[in-house]
Amino acid sequence: MSVLIFAEAEKRTFKKVGFEVASYGRALADQLNVKLIAVAINTDDVHALAKYGVDHIVQIDTVALENFSAHNYAKALAAVAKNQNAKTVVLSSTANARYLAPLLSVALEASYASNVVALPVSLDPFVVKRSCFTNKAFNHTTLSGAINLIGLASNSYGIHEKTSQPEIVSFSVDVEQDLVQTQSIEKVTGKVSIADADIVVSGGRGLKGPENWHLIEDLATTLGAATACSKPVSDMGWRPHSEHVGQTGKPVASNLYIAIGVSGAIQHLAGINASKVKVVINNDPEAPFFKAADYGVVGDAFKVVPELIEKLKAFKAGAH
């Protein structure tokens, strides 16, 4: 028996979520008193996982899996899970992981819970806490499969170091022609993506127009943050749709979310509520966002944001 995790990588390097899933997997394997096995697909430095307590690394390296294919990745993970007799499989909540997880659950006939926010509430029966109603509630879900599959919500467990000396084995998989073929990938380069960002700076209708977005972008650059916006802002074409966050847009689970000129409508908050710390800058003290935020500045964005940028630059240039 074992806990199996998929440590995701991009450009042959592990993503941070890979380490979060490993950290979670380690704790879960300790609770269950079994080994923690990680699957690494096309990565250059599997040893990086030794910092997070992995006992055993199954390394798959093949050009056939160079492009992500939900079908073939699910097939590869299912093959490893069966080979290693894994009873619990843990994936992250990246777009790719959420894409392949249901296919994997079919391949393994596993019970599957997505959006899991913590270690199991109980091991026997196997009960997990997951978020639902778009972050407005949680439910306790009992997984009763012979194999249980968990999708760990982003940034819900954190990265915890624990040194190990993993045994590394390579594994080969049969790759078939996927029914779905990738033709091309268009990635925005040189920008932090909302999914990967520790900090997200978001602008709403209060910024008055796209010509003022340099405020959001400058603040984001200063903080190494991703930029985001409210739905009307993307609907009006001030910003690309890919920046729209909220219930009907992208979910955000960053460490810090700064909302500027965003009122804090329920649908906006639902999508960003999983963020750890929320800051609001709004000139209306009655804006609902103040009820959801940890820190707030009542003030005019056009005055506050430039000053904040200057002060942050000074702070960054200083002792830190």
Partner: protein, 248 residues
Amino acid sequence: MNVLVCISNVPDTTSKINFVENDTQFDTNGVQFIINPNDEFGLTRAIWLQQQQQAEVTVLTVGDASCEAILRKCLAIGAQKAIRIDALPTDGFAVAQEIAAHCKNESYDLIITGRESIDYNGGMVGGILAGLLGMGYVTNCIGLTISGDTASLSREIDGGKENLSAALPLVIGAQKGLVEEDDLIIPNMRGIMQARQKPLTVLPSQNLTPKTTISKFEKPQPKGAVKLIAEDQLDQLIELLHSEAKVI
């Protein structure tokens, strides 16, 4: 071309989320139900296929009789047929199995689900359905054109998009971008009248054993009050974010 759109019946986005029966049931009191927003984007795309490429559009929901109002709304929007599978949708895997059992007797070229439901947030029914039917699957779908028996698609990925092609039959997970908000069809009087005449078939449940069960619900801890920082004290904000919140 036969298109099936899977519809989840969900509480309106502004609903107060409360639970009853010792926190084991969602409190539907005073809650208005809507077509899951992601499914509505998918339905609109399906109606365009009907208008431009003579597709026949069927909508399907797994749920009790209370879901029929939503199915009638889909008919008023333009779907030709509606199906309700008479089972309580408590488990995503079981919902997918119920839908798969129906699809095996039909010949759908395209099955549209939503990227995720806004109540369960499983993000699973479409993928499981594709897996069970052995069909291709593309989720987070923000672009779809069909010519002959192939589909060209785009999918939103973290930090960009991916363009794909696939042979029909195919399952997709729809989201905003597949059509835009402004494209959503608001039923008119004629549509509503016609919907009354359109077939709504009720199919029996497969009575499956669920793979998961929800034992209880919980609401997030109430939030502490916001700490207000005066607009001329921004150094204090930076200090709090650094030393107290430890996020910068």
